[in-house]
């Protein structure tokens, strides 16, 4: 039986639209006009116990909204959702004991007290007796490389330490389902790596089902064999990461500042043109051809400045749509 089962899930918000200016204000006062904005539209998928699934999508794509609907915080406008055999929005105690939601920027630890105090409170709330709680805290702290940080007030911890403590607090009751919303947001590279390692270990050790959203490709690549791609509220791809990567053909983005304006035709042979604005060009070039192409670029074109980086998710999705891979 699937751990998570979602069918035709939708969430629509009603937003008031007011036109600018004096006339708009008067109209707004007399008769409000609203538009319906679909944050999530007709999403369906099933996740089996123990899977680690990544939710990929740009900002505002609908990932967080979907996650909140799965945890029961937000009520769907349409569709069915079932998690661990329960209807999330009823927020029944047996359901709540089996899940956890970790949101990157929001916190549950009490700010002025050491994490240990919040942990012991959680232990009481979830009905874990103190000795077992201490054992679990020890185990998780070792996995997360947290030591004395648990005894210092949360406000005195660095962002990385805080995030790790939040994870510990979220997992103390050994939930069967983990919803993680941007868990590595704002962390430095080391902390990100540590968190990813921890999540992989946790999934291995306890067989928990993990649903992870991120707009860092690296998070997903490191952890999730399966990926759900969400764009503008719709599910565009549900399948293996490997297959998606093959399509994307690991690319890097090269940003060029030319000294003169050149037509697209003279640039096409170096890579896929993402954007061409005056003298600024952005190209997608395959990783295995990168060095060679960049060499050719520099030799053939009047380049003033050059920058190489990973393409942002939105761009990738845009390209995928263009290529007809998805949608």
């Amino acid at each position: 039986m699937a751990m998570i089962s979602v069918e035709g899930l939708s969430k629509t918000y009603r937003v008031a639209n007011k036109q600018p200016g004096l006339v708009g204000t008067l109209r707004h006062a007399l008769r409000r006009q609203t538009t319906d904005v679909a944050a999530v539209a007709d999403v369906s998928f099933r996740i089996e116990p123990g899977e680690m699934v990544g939710f990929l999508g740009g900002n505002g794509a609908g990932k967080t909204t979907t996650l909140k609907m799965l945890s029961g915080l937000i009520h769907p406008s349409a569709g069915r959702v079932e998690v661990a055999g329960h209807t999330p929005q009823r927020r029944q105690a047996p359901f709540l004991r089996q899940i956890t939601l970790v949101m990157g920027q929001k916190q549950q630890l009490l700010w002025d007290l050491p994490p240990r105090d919040s942990l012991l409170l959680n232990a009481a709330v979830y009905g874990i007796d103190d000795r077992e709680a201490e054992r679990r805290i020890g185990e998780l702290a070792a996995m997360l490389e947290l030591g004395d940080e648990l005894n210092r007030p949360v406000r005195k911890l660095s962002l990385g330490e805080r995030m790790k403590a939040e994870l510990l607090a979220a997992l103390l009751h050994r939930p069967a389902v983990l919803f993680l919303d941007e868990p590595t947001l704002g962390l430095d590279v080391n902390a990100q790596a540590r968190v990813r390692q921890f999540l992989a270990e946790y999934n291995q050790r306890f067989g928990a089902t993990v649903l992870l959203t991120s707009h860092y490709m690296a998070d997903i690549t490191a952890l999730c064999p399966r990926v759900l791609l969400i764009h503008q509220g719709r599910l565009f791809y549900d399948g293996s990461l490997a297959a998606l990567s093959a399509r994307l053909a690991p690319c890097r983005e090269v940003r060029l500042e030319l000294t003169t304006i050149l037509p697209a035709s003279s640039l096409e042979r170096f890579g896929t043109i993402e954007a061409l604005e005056g003298r600024t060009v952005r190209l997608l070039i395959r990783r295995d051809q990168l060095t060679a192409r960049v060499g050719e670029l520099l030799a053939a074109l009047p380049v003033a400045d050059l920058e190489v980086r990973d393409p942002p998710i939105d761009e990738l999705i845009g390209t995928l749509l263009q290529q007809g891979v998805i949608g």
Binding site: G21, L22, T25, L26, H28, A29
Partner: protein, 262 residues
């Protein structure tokens, strides 16, 4: 010319836009003023049943004191609260530095930055009560009395400002006691009643330590035409002294603030 008209339309357009959002707030504020006045009048009236007097003051005279308190309360809501309670947030968020870098005196900036129109109904209510009660108490309505009363009220406003400012500015050191202005507010409710109604010990405290007497009772006397030269001078001197103390204190606070944050 056309540019000025367009700008004016934009200004008034924006003003109207906020007006539309806040018209419910206005209703609430009006109800609040009426409720506030009703409850204060009720409590005050309890002292005057059966022809009793309060500290030697008659009912209409005591109402003048209440009216002055209401007026000052309105001033607090209009000017003092919206501005001075932000000093703490400036310190906490580190934005005080930006204020200090402006080419305008920082005390002026912090004290007058915004204004809340919601204090105007209480101020008007206060004036109405003063007007009605003064007339009932048989106060003289000649220009001299009015001018003197106005001056006394001005001194009260200055003293009130200085008290608020001193407490709000001390948050530069003590962010943790941001609610010290709340204590001030509750203590200031003592100003609803004539100073002579208090027992001698409290009376001394409320004249010398926390000059509440000068805030409401002294101007009320002036409005009722009972002002004496000595009280006038004392009021003026106190107001000036309070203002200077607030200025000196601010300079002192800034010195310690700027030398601490490096």
């Amino acid at each position: 010319m056309g540019r000025y008209f367009r700008t004016l339309r934009r200004f008034w357009g924006m003003a109207l836009a906020s007006e539309v959002e806040y018209r419910f707030n206005l209703l609430i504020e009006l109800v609040a003023v009426v409720a506030n006045l009703a409850s204060s009048l009720f409590v005050l009236s309890l002292f005057f049943g059966d022809g009793h007097r309060l500290g030697g003051w008659s009912w209409p005279a005591a109402l003048v004191v209440l009216g002055v308190h209401q007026l000052l309360d309105g001033l607090t809501i209009t000017l003092l609260q919206p501005n001075l309670t932000r000093i703490v947030s400036h310190v906490q968020e580190g934005t005080l530095d930006f204020v200090l870098l402006k080419p305008i005196d920082s005390q002026f900036w912090l004290s007058c930055r915004t204004i809340s129109p919601w204090g105007l109904p209480p101020m008007l209510a206060g004036l109405a009560v003063i007007g009605w009660a003064a007339q009932r108490a048989g106060a003289p309505a000649d220009p001299t009395t009015l001018v003197i009363a106005g001056l006394m009220l001005l001194c009260s406003a200055v003293i009130l400002y200085s008290l608020w400012f001193l407490i709000a500015a001390s948050s530069i050191w003590f962010v943790k006691i941001w609610n010290a202005t709340e204590v001030l507010r509750t203590l200031l409710t003592a100003g609803r009643y004539p100073i002579s109604a208090y027992p001698p010990g409290l009376r001394l405290l409320l004249t010398v330590v926390l000059p509440i007497a000068f805030l409401t009772s002294v101007p009320a006397e002036a409005i009722l035409g009972r002002a004496t030269a000595s009280w006038l001078v004392a009021s003026g001197a106190l107001a000036l002294m309070c203002l200077l103390i607030s200025r000196w204190f601010w300079r002192f606070a800034l010195r310690s603030y700027t030398s601490a944050s490096s």
